[in-house]
Point group: C2
DNA sequence: TATTGTTATACTCTATAACTATA
DNA sequence: TATAGTTATAGAGTATAACAATA
């Protein structure tokens, strides 16, 4: 990184600055990079925090349902689960009633480690949302959920 | 895609649903995929729409400044610019006053094609933000910009 | 016939390191 | 010494296609 160089920022045209899709993309890229840079000591888990919380809340979820929930092809999920299983975060058990299925569970150790990871996530969240009032946060959630709904309509072909 | 299968959705725990970072990540992934799926006929340009608008607003920007603006290493930008140059969107000219620098400009053809692309972008934006009032949009922008500011503070080491 | 999990494979995107030419 | 652009290279992360097992 240069230190003494003149860093005149580029002009961001109004047609760009006005786009919610553009701003959300920039914020999410920066938030993700910041999170990965700040959180260490949890192995490969931080990037899968959301998935691990979903497994915790849905013990025994089949791999295919999990893949859908996080918008991944089920083949893409395989090496991820294999790594997290190898590292002791989760385990997979064959389902007796449908022997095609493997059900995913957190290990007790994984559940414990997830508590520590959650603290790091909450710290990151606090830095991200610093200065927002409780009302701001509620409004932001409401608006983001509306965007989410709109996108589901598009994906479902309803729009 | 299965059609008749039972698609019981996973339970999303409150600790996850409450996270702005989680919701923004999901929305941005879905928005980006929707955009890529819907916009065709513009070659490789759609994913670089933001960068092309920045070039348009900052004609002659050096490659290195452009890379910083979109959070890319300058080496990562090279093949992108080469492709867009090959496809006629932009051109690069050596800077006489500093012969290390190559200045980036839209071609007249690129500027024209960007108008058509912009229409597609605006349609996507309209689908994304459907149902939001003008006041909602203004609030959303204000809150997202605050998140952006917070992240810049973190990246600059001020937090 | 359809679904689940898996493998092999390839493609996209990105960063790092090393190089050159310039300043 | 530092910066700009480039190349070679490697590593993530992802999807597609094909397969066996099972429903």
């Amino acid at each position: 990184m240069a230190i003494m160089r003149d860093i005149a920022e580029l002009h961001e045209p109004e047609a760009l600055a006005r786009l919610v899709s553009y701003r959300i993309r920039l914020v999410q890229i920066a938030a993700y990079k910041t999170f990965e840079a700040r959180v260490s000591g949890h192995g490969p888990a931080p990037r899968y925090y959301g998935m691990l919380k979903l497994i915790e809340a849905n013990p025994g979820v089949p791999q295919a349902r999990l893949a859908e929930a996080i918008f991944l092809d089920r083949s893409s999920l395989v090496p991820i689960l294999q790594e997290l299983e190898r590292e002791g975060w989760l385990e997979r058990r064959a389902a007796p009633q449908d022997r095609r299925v493997r059900r995913v569970f957190l290990t007790p150790e994984g559940a414990g480690r997830l508590v520590a990871l959650e603290r790091a996530v909450e710290e990151h969240e606090a830095r991200l949302t610093a200065g927002l009032s409780a009302e701001d946060l509620e409004t932001l959630h409401r608006l983001l959920l509306r965007l989410d709904d709109n996108l589901r309509d598009v994906q479902a072909g309803r729009v």
